[in-house]
């Protein structure tokens, strides 16, 4: 080991030679060499983690470059793992970098993560996150979890007991994955480059703290970070009950990670109070599906009239509103309309039907 390379952290009070040795002996697997993985890898490599594995099966695209800061314009089209490994090795020639240019699946993940001491999850989808969580829980591997959404991030350490509590895992927070489209990903929702930069760097810091046994790592805690306000909010995690976590390799191999999204999200039945709340949303359209002769007549400024007899034609047209509230006399035709809309728009729009219809909430409609 070149003590000179790590001099500035070795001389740091509370770190020292011993902590540096712990880093050099550690084996860390970083899953995903993207917005979170790039900065995490850079700091882990620079700090002198002895063995770093990188998992990613993706090639570099132009739209990656605003946040995946290990890559240059000339790297477009090349495998992320190859470019990242080369660059990190040039930065620190004294450590081992292992390339895993594959997509982790049930049948290969246990073999790969069993070769490492610490796993850092920097992936970008729920399938991978649940797969990685369950594999780490099964093999008892400390898991450093970082994720972003909009201008916010989450950071946590799972499968690591502390002096207060046995270890917790991601399913103690969210027992089952969200439906497809419930939580948009970065490709759909957008992301500002510096946010995964911050979260990835924080994940590297937590990894270093765990390995070097310094400070208070986020074990059994989840930190929420807000870029726009620079606020952080930390929540203690305790063990939940009644969820499925595979306890054996056989159980793990029988889990279903791919098709967690097969059940389409369904429309929601609401009451008049909920209708009032929805009316205040920005992107909402209220549709009265009764025929034109029916009474009471509702305010056409508020309720767009699309009789069921014209509903099929209406559905062929595009409309921009995200929330669609359907109303009829008794809440029966509006359910049929909601089902048709759900089938067409799936998760792209949120569909609501007023339960019981105008008759049930007569007072509400007469008032307004």
């Amino acid at each position: 080991m070149s003590a000179e390379r790590y001099n500035r952290q070795i001389i740091l009070k509370g770190f020292g030679e011993e902590a540096q040795q712990l880093l050099l002996r550690a084996k860390v697997l970083v899953i995903g060499a993207g917005g979170l993985g790039c900065p995490a890898l850079q700091y882990l490599a620079a700090a002198g983690i002895g063995h770093i594995g990188i998992v990613d099966d993706d090639a570099i695209a132009l739209s990656n470059l605003h946040r995946q800061i290990l890559f240059t314009t000339a790297d477009i089209g090349k495998l992320k793992v190859e470019v990242a490994a080369k660059r990190l090795q040039e930065m620190n020639t004294q450590i081992g970098i292992i390339r895993h240019p594959i997509r982790l699946q049930k049948n290969n993940i246990l073999d790969i993560i069993s070769r490492y001491d610490y796993i850092l999850d920097g992936t970008d989808n729920f399938e991978s996150r649940y797969l990685i969580n369950d594999a780490c829980a099964l093999l008892n591997k400390p898991l450093i979890f970082a994720a972003v959404s909009g201008f916010e991030g989450q950071l946590a350490i799972f499968n690591t007991p502390d002096h207060l509590m046995p270890s917790t895992n991601y399913r103690d927070l969210f027992p089952i994955p969200p439906d497809k489209g419930e939580i948009p990903n970065c490709a759909e929702n957008g992301v500002i480059g510096v946010l995964p930069g911050i979260l990835g760097t924080m994940a590297a810091a937590e990894t270093i703290k765990l390995i070097a046994r310094i400070g208070q790592p986020l074990t059994n805690k989840i930190l929420s970070y807000n870029l726009l306000t620079q606020e952080q909010y930390t929540i203690g995690i305790s063990r939940g009950e009644g969820y499925t976590l595979p306890k054996t390799v056989d159980e793990f191999l029988n889990m279903n990670y791919q098709d967690t999204n097969e059940k389409p999200q369904s429309y929601i039945e609401i009451d008049a109070n909920e209708l009032v709340k929805l009316q205040q949303l920005e992107s909402v359209i209220l549709i009265d599906v009764r025929e034109r002769h029916e009474v009471p007549v509702l305010d056409k400024q508020i309720f767009t009239q699309v009789p069921m007899s014209e509903f099929g034609a209406f559905m062929t047209k595009e409309f921009y509103q995200k929330h669609v509230v359907l109303i009829c006399q008794h809440g029966i035709r509006s359910v049929a309309a909601a089902e048709a809309m759900q089938e067409k728009y799936g998760d792209a729009k949120k569909i609501y039907s007023l339960k019981g219809g105008i008759v049930k909430w007569r007072d509400h409609f007469l008032r307004s």
Binding site: D124, A147, Q154, P178
Partner: protein, 77 residues
């Protein structure tokens, strides 16, 4: 009963951080019902509550001036 509500991610788009003063919400189950009535969009989402910075794993009594956080899962990277 005064409760401070803090929300995150997609949930913060329709539930802003706010202080509410409501009667009849004695525990976290009742609070959940109140939330889903007020904000029907929540019904179809996965989320977790934290009462005074601790994850709610079972129905828990809410005391006056409690802080409740509403957190969805994130997966982006």
């Amino acid at each position: 009963m005064k409760i401070e509500m803090i929300s995150f991610g997609k949930i913060a788009e329709f539930i802003s951080n706010q202080n509410i003063d409501v009667d009849g919400i004695a525990d976290t189950d009742a609070f959940k019902q109140y939330l889903e009535n007020q904000f029907p969009a929540l019904k179809s989402m996965k989320y977790k509550l934290a009462l005074n910075k601790n994850i709610v794993q079972e129905n828990t009594t809410i005391n006056n001036n409690a802080t409740i956080a509403i957190m969805p899962p994130f997966s982006g990277g």
